[in-house]
């Protein structure tokens, strides 16, 4: 998602060089970063690992961090932007040598620097779990960085592949593998598209319990990005593949469950879709386990709704037939430079035909 901000910065400062500071528990993100950019890893996981290592002194992490900071401070930047908005990143901001800094930052002495930017104050007040935001996370970061959104429209494609990614980073946001299997079979039987299931290497064993091996692709991030680019559509929970799709202009459908707050974290581009159950406890707290006796939001999103929406998106003349549905459907668009999500009420769910008589999208 943060590459959207990088694209905005590149549009405003075409000759700028970029350095990313990334946690070292995510080394594979390098595959997604422009090869002309630099990456500096913050040794978060290393510090945690070393703290638990009984053979080294208890204050070893402090010494290692001090060394890392001295290397960091060898560099000077024109602009430093905090895209993470958490305490650690705020402290790190105080250690970066930069002529201008934006985003959350410690003042380097005793307190948090005043949030003079009103968009930063809004982000601070509205981005915690449970709070409602009228703006997408990317919109707020773009405003804080004072750069434009670089809008990527859905690309025309002749691909006959739809990618399904069942797993997210959080159990609460996952749809059951049985539901994904039903959806995959429905796509294969009712559309002209091939449904391929994608996952990371550590997810392979679980996927193979439910899906035939021939339907599974286990991919690294760079391969995944390529696969997304060459697909007709991506369907997933609220996770990174949706943002990859938005970046490369591949249409996406997000099944927003659990702590997923789609108004803040949906695909940042026009023409993407979200299905979100209207379950009362959704969105739930990001870092806590589901408090319900069963996964209610998942139960409120049976495969039929996803199938019905796909029927509209992929096939001709299949109007939605949702009566008092426990699910809401949304489509992303841009208005006045900001992302908005239009709820697709039944009256709006009519098909639009292009010049050749093919249905192309929902109105």
């Amino acid at each position: 998602m943060h590459r959207q901000i990088r694209n905005g910065l590149k549009a405003k400062y075409p000759t700028a060089k970029f350095t990313w500071m990334v946690n070292d528990n995510l080394p594979s993100v390098v595959e997604l970063i422009d090869p002309n950019d630099e990456v500096q890893f913050f040794p978060r996981k290393s510090l945690q690992d070393i703290a638990l290592l009984k053979t080294v002194p208890i204050t070893a992490p402090e010494g290692i961090l001090r060394e890392w900071i001295s290397i960091l401070q060898d560099s000077t930047f024109d602009l430093a932007i905090n895209l993470s908005h958490d305490k650690v990143s705020g402290y790190l901001m105080s250690l970066v040598n930069a002529e201008k800094k934006t985003g959350l930052q410690w003042d380097g002495i005793s307190q948090w620097a005043p949030m003079e930017n009103s968009w930063l104050r809004y982000l601070n007040d509205h981005m915690q779990s449970g709070s409602i935001s009228q703006y997408h996370y990317c919109d707020l970061l773009l405003q804080i960085a004072e750069v434009p959104a670089v809008i990527q429209n859905i690309r025309e494609t002749k691909s006959d592949v739809i990618l399904l990614q069942p797993f997210t980073s959080d159990q609460k946001k996952n749809w059951s593998l049985e539901n994904w299997r039903l959806l995959q079979l429905w796509i294969e039987e009712n559309t002209s598209y091939e449904a391929i299931v994608v996952g990371a290497p550590f997810e392979e064993a679980q996927l193979k319990k439910v899906f035939p091996a021939a339907a599974i692709k286990i991919l690294g991030l760079a391969e995944l990005q390529n696969e997304v680019k060459n697909s007709k559509m991506v369907i997933s929970g609220d996770t990174a593949i949706i943002h990859l799709a938005a970046l490369v202009g591949t249409q996406s459908l997000t099944l927003s469950l659990g702590s997923s707050d789609f108004r803040k974290t949906s695909a940042f581009g026009p023409g993407h879709f979200v299905l979100s159950p209207n379950t009362k406890c959704k969105p739930c707290h990001h870092s806590k386990a589901c408090t319900q006796t069963s996964h209610l939001c998942e139960e409120d999103l049976p495969p039929e709704y996803a199938q019905n929406l796909l029927d509209h998106l992929l096939n001709d003349h299949h109007p939605l037939k949702w009566k008092k549905a426990p699910v809401s459907a949304f489509r992303t668009g841009f208005r006045n430079g900001f992302l908005y999500l239009e709820e697709l009420s039944e009256s709006k769910l009519t098909m639009e035909k292009d010049n050749e008589g093919r249905s192309s999208s929902l109105l």
Binding site: R44, T55, P57, I58, P61, V88, L92
Partner: protein, 188 residues
């Protein structure tokens, strides 16, 4: 036992001076160079952390020489033998290696030159040089790591609790510096 110890230096065929205690060599008498290389290799992952190092056991000193030549780390070398300390100070007088005598029954918890290092230095034992002091070296290393019950009790921390950095830092530092603020978040 310490009072009955005899200490002498004997040249090996390659010309290296090998310290002996009660007739037993305190490093490999045949190829001390190879032994020092192997010790460096065994500890390389710890050495790469870049922390100040306290070496327990001086032996023939070749492992100290390699550590000094290959890194820029502050080095303290500890031994229980006064004669060996005196000899090593002369051999390494051109370096900044700090040699400290830790007598047999002396604890690092009360040693005026070592208490400040507790929890802050990487203790590495050179076992061939330990001789009869191996248990003392092991206990001292554990205390220098700052993770032993004795240290925890000395710092008024509960030995029953996990050896968590956060507890140590918050208790041990009156004012949290920026590094400690970061670690408090990262390690919580």
């Amino acid at each position: 036992m310490a009072t009955n110890r005899t200490f002498d230096l004997r040249a090996n065929p390659q010309g290296y001076l090998i310290p002996h205690e009660n007739g037993a060599a305190l490093s490999c008498a045949i190829d001390p160079e190879k032994q020092a290389r192997q010790w460096m290799d065994k500890n390389k992952h710890y050495i790469q952390l870049g922390l100040p190092v306290t070496v327990l056991g001086i032996g023939a000193g070749l492992h100290l020489q390699k550590l000094h030549q290959l890194t820029l780390l502050p080095i303290t070398a500890v031994d229980t033998r006064p004669g060996l300390i005196s000899w090593a100070r002369k051999i390494f007088k051109q370096t900044e290696i700090n040699f400290v005598l830790l007598e047999e029954k002396q604890s690092v918890l009360t040693h005026p030159l070592l208490t400040g290092e507790i929890g802050r230095t990487l203790p590495l034992i050179f076992e061939p040089a330990a001789g009869n002091s191996l248990e003392h070296f092991r206990t001292s290393a554990e205390n220098l790591r700052g993770r032993s019950d004795e240290v925890w009790t000395m710092k008024n921390l509960d030995p029953a609790k996990p050896r968590h950095w956060r507890e140590w830092a918050v208790t041990y530092h009156d004012v949290l510096h920026i590094e400690q603020k970061i670690l408090k978040e990262v390690l919580s």
